[in-house]
């Protein structure tokens, strides 16, 4: 579990995050959503220690990350996996070397054991016959899956995903979302995802934190978001007519008042 308490962060005179608190539980996908510039990436970078917040606490299973010594932070970081927006795979290394890197750095396993583990996670993310390929030879979706394999190879307790679906087609996005969700449940990981993707919000958002201009505007689950009356949240989530109609239909469906003659064709104009 990760607890964020009263986090504030400014750059020069500009306050980017103001007093944000949240509780992100293990075994579920915790989503941070918000429009560009709302502070969600800065919040995530504060959580993983890439930025130091001006004030507040970030608690990883009862241990305050901010007041920890460098050595303690290093130990926590070994339990963190992160999937970056651009995958951040090492260009000069093959898929196998990329995934093996954390094992090489932090374990004393034999080469055979490491290779076995690499193949296990690559298989888990459905990457086959690509061990010797370089990142430049992979598609966007494959890069994301290899990066996910690298992030989970050390069995992390915490998984951070920054815009995991950016630049991917809807079908591949769905595959990545499902993978993240399955891995989260399977290994009881506390997963934190930064996303713009409304499909992800609806599909895997066990907990959703909506940020607006550096503040926490709304929090809840993917079921609650449908019925939310928060104006800003509704404007952000249901930005198009199509999504507004989808929301209306879902609400009718949930309340059992869906007219028999109404179907998806009504939404397509």
């Amino acid at each position: 579990m990760i607890e964020v308490k009263n986090i504030k962060k400014s750059f020069a005179d500009k306050t980017v995050i103001q007093d944000v608190s949240a509780v992100m539980k293990a075994g579920q996908c915790n989503l941070i959503i918000g429009s560009s510039g709302s502070g969600k990436t800065v919040l995530m970078k504060c959580m993983v220690g890439l930025f130091e917040p001006d004030s507040g606490e970030i608690i990883y299973d009862k241990k305050d990350f901010i007041t920890m010594s460098q050595e303690e932070k290093k130990d926590i970081r070994k339990e963190i996996g992160m999937l970056f927006q651009g995958s951040a795979l090492f260009d000069s290394q093959t898929v196998e070397q990329n995934v093996m890197f954390p094992l090489d750095m932090f374990t004393k396993d034999s080469s055979v054991q490491k290779l076995k583990r690499v193949n296990e996670v690559l298989e888990r993310v459905k990457i086959v016959d690509a061990n010797k390929k370089f990142p430049s030879e992979l598609s966007g979706g494959m890069k994301k899956r290899v990066a996910l394999a690298r992030a989970i190879v050390l069995n992390p307790k915490y998984l951070f995903c920054d815009e995991p679906n950016s630049g991917l087609d809807p079908q591949t996005s769905l595959v990545i979302d499902k993978l993240i969700q399955e891995i989260t449940v399977e290994y009881n990981i506390t997963t934190v995802i930064n996303t713009h993707d409304m499909n992800s919000v609806m599909e895997i958002g066990n907990y959703i934190l909506y940020m607006y201009q550096g503040n926490k505007e709304w929090e809840g689950s993917n079921r609650e978001i449908i019925f939310s009356k928060n104006k800003r949240l509704n404007e952000f989530i249901f930005a198009s007519d199509f999504l507004r109609d989808a929301k209306e239909m879902r609400m009718l469906e949930e309340s059992g008042k869906m007219p028999e003659n109404r179907n998806m064709d009504d939404m397509i104009k």
Binding site: V48, G49, L50, K73, K74, D75, I76, R77, K78, I80, M82, F84, Q85, G86, A88, L89, F90, D91, P102, D104, M105, F106, F160
Partner: protein
Amino acid sequence: MKIIKDIGRYLLMLKSMFSRPENGKMYWKEFMRQCSDIGIGSLGIVCIISIFIGAVSTLQTAYQLVSPLIPPSTIAQIVRDTVILEFAPTLTCIVLAGVVGSKIASELGNMRVSEQIDALEIMGINTKSYLIMPKILAGLVTIPLLVMLAMVLGIWGGRVAGSMTGILTPEQFDTGLRQSFVQYNVFFALAKSYTFAFIIASIPAFYGYYVQGGALEIGKASTKAVVVSCILLLFADYVLSALLL
């Protein structure tokens, strides 16, 4: 003000490189990779430059020594001392500042922009220690070796050019080489090459590591790294000459 801030950041960067390696074997692997990149990667250009510099030195020295009272072997003495004192360490290192410096700056800049450095940080790796230290150490090991090779090839190039053009025979050249040889000159050249090696590896690492932006900024950082390295090389050359000669 910016220059003071940059110097401060540079010194802090160097300070934070010194931490216990997370895995010595991986650091060694990275160090050997850098030795290969910097040393073997620059071998060709160093060989070509050294041979031609030595050859041109012989021809130009002979052109200026017109008096029949000066024996031809003096040309070899002058070529030897010029190559050892200046051409091999300074010229080789200026070329290396371009070749190695731009490579280091763009490699680190690309890693920064594509979040590879962030990925390493999140894994709990001291990126300054893992990425910069092996480059500096590899520079300190391989660049003086390249400079020594440049000395040998420079003198050999001069000898070949002398005999090919009929300015002086190989025997006359060898006689000149052995006359009034001062061992301290080699020490001085090596002192320069160690100083230059540190500049060539650390300055581009600083500019590459702190790149912000995209591809355009990587290019700018790379150019700036080479320019600043060259200026610092020439300044260090002057200071060392004033102090040690």
